[in-house]
């Protein structure tokens, strides 16, 4: 006789509600990984999340912890405010590429440079999702969106910004990693990055950011499986995966 064992269930840090995300979208995967990490670290009751403006604007309805809803791009400033007056709380922002790399470029760079001890989950799907598929700072060269209908022309609007690489140049100690959510092995790797990013905060070590390459089947106009393949073939060559910066290394740089 073997006792029944639960191997897989909904994390306590996620509410038992359906999400509004499109079929095949990887936001749900990202939410689940974060929630699993929060559960594993036992920090749900002292965590404050900051939701962005973008598809994840309603993230506060899905996570089972205290939450603030930020202005577009300002989540790192919100998080700075919370963390500075309550360093005992665990604070994370959840931001898309328009939010973090376009309108919120100033806030994220300076929060990272000050070494604010919170965690950033950066969803990079190379497009604006909520507003319906416009060009993002991360849109790939030649990629078609509603505001670059002939494909991103780098002579007009420059090249996509590699945010993780940019932030990794800062001298202030930080943890910066880029993972991907397009296949199971990479999802498990992304979870390890996320866990590390939260652990650095729990240990009061450093600013931590995990970029997650994500799909947007709706606005890419692809079935979910094709979107995952498109991510692997097009995004990963431009946005290589792995840990870009560890706090231990940056001390001497």
């Amino acid at each position: 006789m073997t006792a029944t064992q639960t191997l897989y269930s909904r994390p306590e840090a996620l509410r038992r509600v359906p999400t509004h995300y499109c079929p095949g979208c990887t936001h749900g995967t990202a939410h689940r990984l974060i929630a699993e990490v929060i559960d594993a670290l036992g920090i749900r009751e002292r965590t404050v999340g900051i939701a962005p403006v973008g598809c994840a604007v309603l993230a506060y309805n899905y996570f089972n912890c205290d939450f603030l809803e930020a202005a577009h791009g300002r989540a790192p400033a919100f998080a700075t405010g919370v963390k500075r007056v309550r360093p005992d709380l665990i604070v994370f922002t959840y931001q898309g590429d328009g939010d973090l790399a376009s309108i919120g470029m100033g806030e994220i760079v300076h929060a990272a440079n000050r070494g604010e001890k919170f965690t950033v989950i950066f969803i990079n799907n190379a497009i604006y999702g909520m507003t319906g598929g416009q060009m993002a700072p991360t849109t790939l060269p030649g990629q078609i969106t509603t505001t670059c209908p002939d494909g991103r022309d780098v002579r007009q609007v420059g090249y996509p910004i590699r945010m993780s690489e940019l932030l990794a140049t800062l001298r202030t100690p930080a943890y910066v990693a880029r993972g991907s959510l397009h296949e199971p092995g990479r999802i498990l790797e992304a979870k390890r990055f996320i866990e590390k990013a939260f652990r650095y905060q729990v240990e009061d070590r450093c600013f931590a950011l995990v970029e997650l390459l994500s799909t947007c089947p709706t606005n890419w106009a692809m079935p979910p499986d094709v979107a995952c393949k498109w991510l692997a073939d097009n995004m990963i060559p431009y946005y290589p995966l792995g840990e870009l910066k560890l706090p231990e290394e940056s001390v001497t740089s």
Binding site: R44, E45, R46, T47, V48, I50, A51, V57, L58, Y60, F63, N64, C65, D66, F67, L68, E69, A70, A71, R74, A77, F78, A79, T80, G81, V82, K83, R84, V85, R86, L89, G106, E107, V109, H110
Partner: protein, 349 residues
């Protein structure tokens, strides 16, 4: 004590535990004072990368239930307007100190009152109001700073202390011991971790129009309560028959008092209504005082903003005359007395 320092110290006495700032003339002394003082009292001092970021840091810090504030000057206040709208929508208590300089644009760094509309209407987008307090001395700046924290908590709303560059830069004796801040209230809404309760969510997003309208109606009732309970006004030299009633606030009101005294020695009867709360505007006090006056003049360090509120208050008695200087030009009491003399004598004829 310098006005800017008195404001900083008063905020500490009021229990402020965090101050976020970006340097801008003519109030950077508040930041310089608090950079030293905040660490001494175990508070947070942080210079942000922009006023945009600073105001959003205030949202986050206020959401934890702490008393938090910033100080800035006109162009910086414009940049904070985005977050003020969110803070008003999320109903968080935050104190904003705007030491006005002259504009528009980069303008100049001298004293002006050109941000009256911006402060008393909406600096940011959407359907909201903020109490606005306007000091006319360094002592009053300290007292109103303390009041601003209490009001912000009472209404869970941003509160604006609207001073001008003169108040920020002027040195005057201040009694800090007379400041009596209220006791911070319980804040069951704060996002402090959900131990032992359901998660708290602080937001301003309401996608259902009926839910948002209900929220708008609730906010509107709150603003009406401010109008009922928070009017503050000083009446100077009131009497039954006036040759001229003057309405002015802040530094301009002080100059007007001296001008009124000068003309009093000439046998002219002038009085002053000095709004201390600009929102809610002391409309009833203006109307009541104006009934004793042949004419009313509004005096501002601008080309005329509060005068519109005065005219609304005067109703059938109006409209008011206007005298203003701007661009950083502050008129002397003699210049103001000259303008009053012409108006008062014109009224007598």
């Amino acid at each position: 004590m310098k006005g800017a320092e008195a404001i900083g110290e008063a905020a500490i006495r009021a229990g402020a535990s965090a101050y976020f700032c970006y340097p801008i003339t003519p109030q950077t002394e508040v930041a310089e004072y608090l950079a030293k003082r905040m660490p001494q009292v175990g508070g947070v001092f942080l210079q942000g990368e922009s006023e945009v970021a600073v105001a959003n840091m205030l949202f986050g810090a206020a959401a934890t239930g702490k008393r938090v504030f910033t100080s800035t000057s006109s162009p910086g206040f414009s940049l904070m307007a985005e977050a003020m709208s969110y803070i008003a929508g999320a109903e968080l208590p935050v104190v904003f100190i705007n030491v006005m300089r002259c504009g528009p644009g980069l303008g100049g760094v001298l004293a002006a009152q050109g941000d009256y509309w911006q402060a008393t209407r909406n600096s940011g987008h959407g359907d909201y109001r903020c109490p606005v307090l306007a000091p006319c001395s360094v002592q009053e700046a300290a007292e109103l700073t303390v009041q601003a924290f209490d009001l912000a908590e009472k209404y869970r709303n941003p509160v604006i202390l609207l001073a001008d560059g003169m108040i920020g830069q002027m040195m005057e004796p201040v009694s800090l011991d007379s400041l009596t801040p209220g006791v911070p209230s319980e804040k069951p809404w704060a996002t402090t971790g959900c131990r032992g309760r359901d998660p708290n969510i602080i937001k301003s997003l309401y996608l259902d129009p009926h839910v948002l309208e209900k929220m708008n109606l609730r906010l509107s009732a709150k603003y009406r309560r401010m109008v009922d309970e928070e009017v503050q006004v000083e009446l100077y030299n009131q009497r039954d028959r006036l040759d001229l009633l003057v309405v002015a606030y802040g530094t301009m009101a002080r100059i007007c008092k001296t001008a009124i005294d000068i003309l009093g020695e000439e046998g002219l009867h002038l009085a002053l209504v000095r709004p201390i709360s600009l929102f809610p505007f002391p409309a009833a006090a203006v109307h009541a005082a104006a009934r004793h006056a042949t004419r009313v003049v509004t005096v501002e360090l601008s080309q005329g903003q509060m005068v519109e509120d005065v005219d609304l208050a005067l109703r059938e008695l109006g409209p008011s005359e206007f005298f203003g200087r701007s661009g950083g030009v502050v008129p002397t009491p003699d210049e103001v007395a000259g303008a009053f003399r012409r108006l008062a004598k014109g009224a007598c004829q």
